[in-house]
């Protein structure tokens, strides 16, 4: 699919392509609102179907997302030398995974956080929108 965004001149990616790219990577950036201000931090994640799962300790991340709060999540691969790459942005809601069968499933995702710490909680992002852009130098 080759749709060019008139405003940015970037090639838009369809949802299937975005999901494939999300499945190829394991580090993304989560944006949440905490105390009325946006906050962004890197997280290790896995794609599970059309959802994304990451692990968390108690703290800012979990506090900000426990009640189905709106979040944005971004993954990209940008080559600074060739100025080519892509970025995928997911917006949706995040909720802690608590249901036992679901917990069993997400424990099998081989989700190893980059930071130490126990991180006993699993959080799932359910997308409302998935958008992606490929950057090709013209």
């Amino acid at each position: 699919m080759r749709t060019i965004d008139d405003r940015t001149g970037l090639q838009e990616l369809d949802e299937t392509t975005c999901l494939l790219l999300l499945g190829r990577h394991t580090t993304g950036r989560l944006a949440v609102v905490h105390d009325g201000r946006p906050l962004i931090f890197p997280v290790t994640y896995r794609r599970s179907g059309r959802t994304l799962v990451f692990r968390s300790d108690e703290g800012t991340k979990l506090d900000a997302v426990t009640h189905g709060s709106p979040v944005a999540f971004e993954v990209d691969e940008l080559d600074n030398r060739t100025h080519q790459g892509w970025s995928v942005v997911v917006t949706g809601t995040a909720e802690e995974v608590t249901e036992p069968a679901e917990l069993d499933a997400v424990r099998k995702l081989r989700l190893e956080p980059w930071a130490p710490g126990v991180k006993p909680h699993f959080v799932r992002i359910t997308p409302e929108t998935i958008t992606g852009r490929r950057i090709v130098d013209s």
């Binding site: 944006a31 703290g59 980059w114």
Partner: protein, 143 residues
């Protein structure tokens, strides 16, 4: 050395500045009425300002002049449990003054995708909150 609840070393503003200066792509997060948005952007440091190249026709450019923002840069390698991230929280201002725009145009700020950046916003690092975390980089003195 201060370590946070996740076992990451906490970096203060002084330690974050060389990390900010070492990269050229960051992610900006802004809260719209419709919800949060996060997008990759090109940036460069200019004196005490963090200058971000934007698209004047884009939603992000409009919001950055009014809404509080988060700006994040990182280099993380999960396989080696190595990485750092820096977070800047504050407000940006549109660069409108022709002299400021001319200065921004001389920064090493290449646009991703076709064309050049036609607009810029700046975050004053002296008044913004600047914080960072790192892992597996002990022994590298950032001061």
């Amino acid at each position: 050395v201060t370590v946070d609840g996740n076992g990451l070393e906490v970096l203060d503003r002084t330690a974050c500045l060389p990390l900010l200066a070492s990269a050229t792509v960051g992610r900006v997060g802004v809260w719209f009425a419709s919800g949060p948005e996060v997008l990759p952007v090109n940036y460069a440091l200019s004196g005490d300002d963090l200058v971000i190249g934007t698209n004047p026709a884009g939603r992000l450019h409009g919001a950055l002049g009014t809404e509080p923002l988060a700006f994040e840069v990182d280099d993380v390698d999960p396989a080696y449990e190595w990485g750092w991230s820096v977070l800047v929280r504050g407000r940006a201002r549109h660069l409108d003054d022709p002299a400021e725009v001319a200065r921004a145009e001389r920064l090493p700020l290449r646009s991703w995708g076709p064309g050049r950046h036609r607009a810029f916003v700046a975050v004053a690092l002296t008044t913004a909150d600047v914080s960072g975390r790192r892992l597996g980089l002990h022994g590298i003195d950032l001061r």
